[in-house]
């Protein structure tokens, strides 16, 4: 599959370890391209923590590369979590029988930024979740995506630092240039 990953350093095959990618929208588009690329060759497990698993997009991506898209889609195994309590429960369940195929965690921090959950509880649950991920990353590649913490959740900015500190490799999307300093010069100055 000739997918352009030049802006994001996904290596093929993915190395074992905890790889963290941070960018706008938790880099969903790129992550789903990665899922598609992996599913064409092998089984892949997705833990979706931010309602990001748009399987229509994956199906569309794989379609030109296979005559049996249903079989490729069956290579994807996924589960969604909608609260940080569920994220931890999901990770603990997966860690009990670790998969040997790559594990993709989409938008890990989304539920931990939920203001309905007290900061101390989110913090505690995140630490336990990251410990689980660390353990899982010892047997297979674990790719985690996250988005920058928005201003409204400023009190939880430390979560991103904590995620970075648990990673073996982390890559961050370069910040977008302000519109007025864009690369495209004006045609008529």
């Amino acid at each position: 599959m000739d997918t352009d990953f030049s802006l994001i350093p996904f290596k093929d095959p993915l190395p074992t370890g905890l790889l963290v990618f941070i960018g706008q929208h938790a880099l969903t588009e790129k992550m789903l391209e990665l899922v598609a690329a992996l599913a064409l060759k092998q089984r892949v497990t997705i833990l979706d923590c931010g309602n990001r698993s748009n399987m229509y997009a994956v199906a569309k991506t794989i379609r030109p590369y296979t005559s049996d898209p249903a079989a490729v889609m069956a290579n994807i195994r996924l589960s969604r979590a909608f609260t940080c309590y569920q994220v931890l429960a999901m990770l603990e369940a997966v860690a009990a029988a670790p998969p040997h195929e790559p594990l993709i965690v989409l938008d890990l921090l989304a539920t931990f930024l939920d203001e309905d959950v007290e900061l101390k509880d989110s913090q505690r649950l995140l630490t336990r979740s990251l410990t689980c991920l660390r353990r899982l990353s010892q047997s297979a590649p674990v790719v985690v995506s996250a988005k920058p913490v928005p201003q409204i959740s400023a009190a939880r900015t430390g979560f991103l630092d904590q995620l970075r500190s648990f990673s073996d490799v982390h890559w961050e999307e370069p910040p977008a240039l302000p519109a007025e300093q864009g690369l495209q010069p004006t045609l008529f100055a």
Binding site: M73, I76, L78, A81, L88, M90
Partner: protein, 745 residues
């Protein structure tokens, strides 16, 4: 014993640090209001690793207020086998709340059950008593309840209700826009306007009314956001005590403002003022007041068991949640504090197949006559009950239940569904304008909202008894039901013009009376197993296309006139909350004109009348004759203002308010006018007089033309041409196409 046996209706119930509970009753015999207290020990549970449970046991052994600790086995709804728990009995509910919050910090890895159940929910689970339940009790000389029996049921269709004393208090104008000059005080015995003088004599009058009339419910306008804070501030500044509570030992309780996300919308709920011993209902904060008023609010409180003040303000989802907890408690199922159950693994293909919504069959754009609209009665709740869809029960095979014994969710919904049907039947036994018919309709509407949200709640992240697979099973069942209905209709020779989740629009040559559709409805009902009803037969109905591409039909965007003369509108400007009142009125008037046509032959005349309404509206706007308050746009800000990169009109108006020192929260409504020049909007809450000549006439003409175009388009008027005609004039409107279009209907 002062009250050896007492009969009365439960009005209010709240925590009491010393005795457990305080309860206020309305006496059945002498109209008095009586306060009782009651001991109410409660139990909550902890589960987890044995070592952790042992540490917890050790920590609680000598804890004051903990009366008993015991190892038990209880049923967690999401776990097949019973779980080992430590049951913690505490002497009072207030102590339990305080203890639990301490333990939660101290033992973060434990799983807690029944830990945050509200007191009203616990009370009904134990005694069956709910707001306005008729009870018989025995009490000692200190008015401490010794025993209590509930004499009626929340499912009674025509319950004996207490004679409630209702006092209304409201400012004479909207305080967010104008300066309040007086307060209006009203009850069934008196009505008075109280000028706001500097000596605070209005406070004396309000106090006297509260004391002499002793209301059970204080109904206010802007009571939470302005009136009660104002009165309390004045009371303090002027040194005139104000006894808003019936319980003199309590101050007003303020519940913090919140912003939350619900059904795709950010919603802001302002601070709330709660009273003790009587209820405060702010009509402006009461979520569904415009839909079901006080009768519906009281029905909501009785059925959900939420306190009246809360039932008036919260979303129906909280009501459903409380009812599910009661069902669980009554079935001796644990109530999880935090739901940890996760979605089972699916393949990518399975997610595509299951993660879908309701069935939609695009409408046939244009004008159609003699069309029947049939819809399934509360389809999703019926699918849940029929298919026994609940998180703890195996999912059905499309519509065939996997288990006979009803789960928590269908068990909760079934009585609501049945009561709503009974209320609708009862309402039909009265003439439509009879007060009882209106009350029954309001009560039925309250139940409708509970049924409406129950489906969404199955998929809601924080729903204790939610499960995404169950949520998906409901939409799957709904799609199947609609497909079966379509098959039946087509087998019977009907043309299906449109399908939308739970409704079908059917047409067949020669069918124009209700009896012509009875057979097909009966067949649909027997093939699906669900009840179906005829919403009505349209004299004519217009399905509208997309505004951007007239070739694309838009589901659920239509208007039509039933044979009864009733007009039904969906998806038009008049239905939108942000449309200025005057634009909505103009569009509604146009539709009313069209509704006058009793048959096709009368349509051309009705169309000319509708167009005349439009012309007059354009003229009045151009002559600046429309009062600014009717042109206010009801906008909304969904995020914190600093998060906006490009500012919408609502955001620009909100920033004006912020600059004037007002606080703007995400989800808050912001009203504004479009103005000429800069700034191009004017926030309505800034107050002051607005010169109609300075309004952005062009913008309002555009809005009017869009609204008018939606109505006239099915009759052959191109909205773009209408827009040009409205803004520039001098364009020839192809009015002759009307008759041609109508001939084709």
């Amino acid at each position: 014993m002062s009250n050896p046996t007492f009969r009365g209706w439960l009005l209010d119930l709240y925590l009491n640090q010393q005795d457990g509970l305080t309860l206020w009753f309305i006496s059945e015999s002498d109209d008095s209001r009586v306060c009782f207290t009651q001991r109410f020990p409660v139990t909550f549970y902890a589960a987890g690793a044995s070592d952790d449970l042992r540490r917890l046991w050790k920590a609680l052994r000598k804890e004051p207020g903990v009366t008993k600790l015991a190892r038990q086995q209880k049923q967690d709804v999401f776990v097949v086998d019973p779980v080992d728990v430590l049951a913690i009995d505490v002497d009072t509910p207030a102590h339990q709340v305080e203890l639990f919050h301490r333990l939660e910090d101290q033992f973060p890895t434990l799983i807690w059950y029944d830990a945050d159940v509200t007191i009203s929910t616990r009370y009904i689970a134990r005694y069956g008593a709910f707001p306005l339940a008729l009870c018989q009790l025995e009490a000692d000389s200190q008015n401490r309840i010794q025993s209590l029996e509930t004499l009626n049921s929340r499912w009674d269709v025509m319950p004996a209700l207490p004679p409630l004393r209702i006092l209304e208090l409201a400012p004479d104008v909207d305080p967010t826009h104008s300066t309040v000059q007086a307060l209006n005080l009203r009850s069934d015995r008196f009505s008075q306007s109280l000028p706001l003088d500097e000596h605070g004599s209005y406070l004396h009058t309000i106090n006297a009314a509260l004391s002499a009339y002793d209301p059970d419910i204080l109904v206010t306008d802007w009571g939470d956001s302005w009136l009660l804070p104002f009165l309390l501030r004045q009371s303090e500044q002027l040194g005139i005590p104000l006894a808003l509570n019936r319980d003199p030992s309590r101050p007003v309780r303020w519940q913090k403002e919140i912003t939350y996300f619900s059904y795709g919308h950010i919603i802001f709920r302002p601070e709330e003022a709660h009273l003790f011993g009587r209820c405060h209902v702010d009509r402006k904060s009461a979520m569904m007041w415009s839909d079901y008023s006080l009768a519906g609010t009281l029905e909501m409180a009785r059925v959900t068991t939420l306190p009246i003040e809360k039932a008036a303000r919260v979303s129906p989802g909280q009501g459903i949640s409380a009812m599910q907890v009661i069902t669980a408690l009554q079935k001796d199922i644990l109530v999880p504090y935090q739901k940890r159950q996760v979605e089972e693994f699916k393949s990518g293909l399975q997610l595509i197949q299951s993660d879908r919504g309701g069935m939609i069959y695009q409408p046939k754009v244009g004008l159609h006559s003699d069309v029947a609209e049939v819809d399934f009665v509360s389809m999703y709740p019926a699918v849940i009950i029929h298919g026994n869809i609940s998180p703890e029960v195996p999912l059905p095979d499309v519509l065939t239940p996997a288990s006979e014994e009803l789960g928590v969710v269908p068990l909760t919904l079934k009585p609501i569904y049945e009561k709503r049907v009974a209320l609708k039947v009862k309402a039909r036994s009265y003439p439509p304008d009879h007060p009882m018919a209106k009350t029954l309709k309001a009560r039925s509407s309250a139940l409708k909202w509970l049924l409406v949200v129950c489906f969404g709640f199955l998929g809601y992240k924080n729903a204790r008894y939610g499960r995404i697979e169950a949520h998906e099973a409901v939409t799957k069942g709904g799609r199947e039901v609609l497909l079966r209905a379509k098959e039946v209709a087509e087998e019977e020779g009907f043309e299906v013009l449109h399908m939308y989740v739970d409704a079908l629009w059917l047409r067949k040559k020669g069918c124009s009376k209700p009896e012509h559709f009875e057979d097909v409805m009966h067949k649909i009902s027997s093939r699906t197993g669900l009840a179906i009803a005829l919403d009505g037969i349209y004299r004519w109905v217009a399905f509208l296309p997309s505004k951007t591409d007239p070739r694309v039909p838009i589901p659920n965007r239509y208007f039509g006139v039933f044979q009864s003369g009733e007009i039904k509108v969906r998806g038009l400007e008049a239905r939108r909350r942000d449309t200025p009142r005057w634009i909505a009125q103009a569009q509604t008037e146009m539709l009313t004109c069209l509704g006058q046509a009793k048959n096709r032959a009368e349509l051309p005349e009705a169309l000319h009348a509708a167009f005349h309404v439009y012309e007059q509206a354009v003229k009045r706007l151009k002559q600046s004759q429309v009062p600014p308050e009717l042109l206010v746009v009801n906008g909304k800000v969904s995020y914190a203002l600093e998060a906006y990169k490009s500012a919408t009109a609502s955001v620009r108006a909100a920033r004006q308010l912020q600059a004037a020192g007002m606080q703007i929260r995400p989800g808050q409504r912001v009203r504004f006018l479009f103005m000429q020049g800069e700034p191009d909007v004017y926030a309505w809450e800034l107050g002051g007089q607005v010169d109609p000549a300075k309004l952005d006439q062009h913008k309002y003409l555009e809005l009017l033309a869009k609204a008018g175009g939606s109505v006239l388009q099915p009759f052959g008027i191109d909205p773009q041409v209408l827009m040009e005609w409205t803004l520039k004039g001098g364009v020839q409107l192809p009015l002759d196409t009307w008759n041609k279009t109508l001939l084709e209907v």
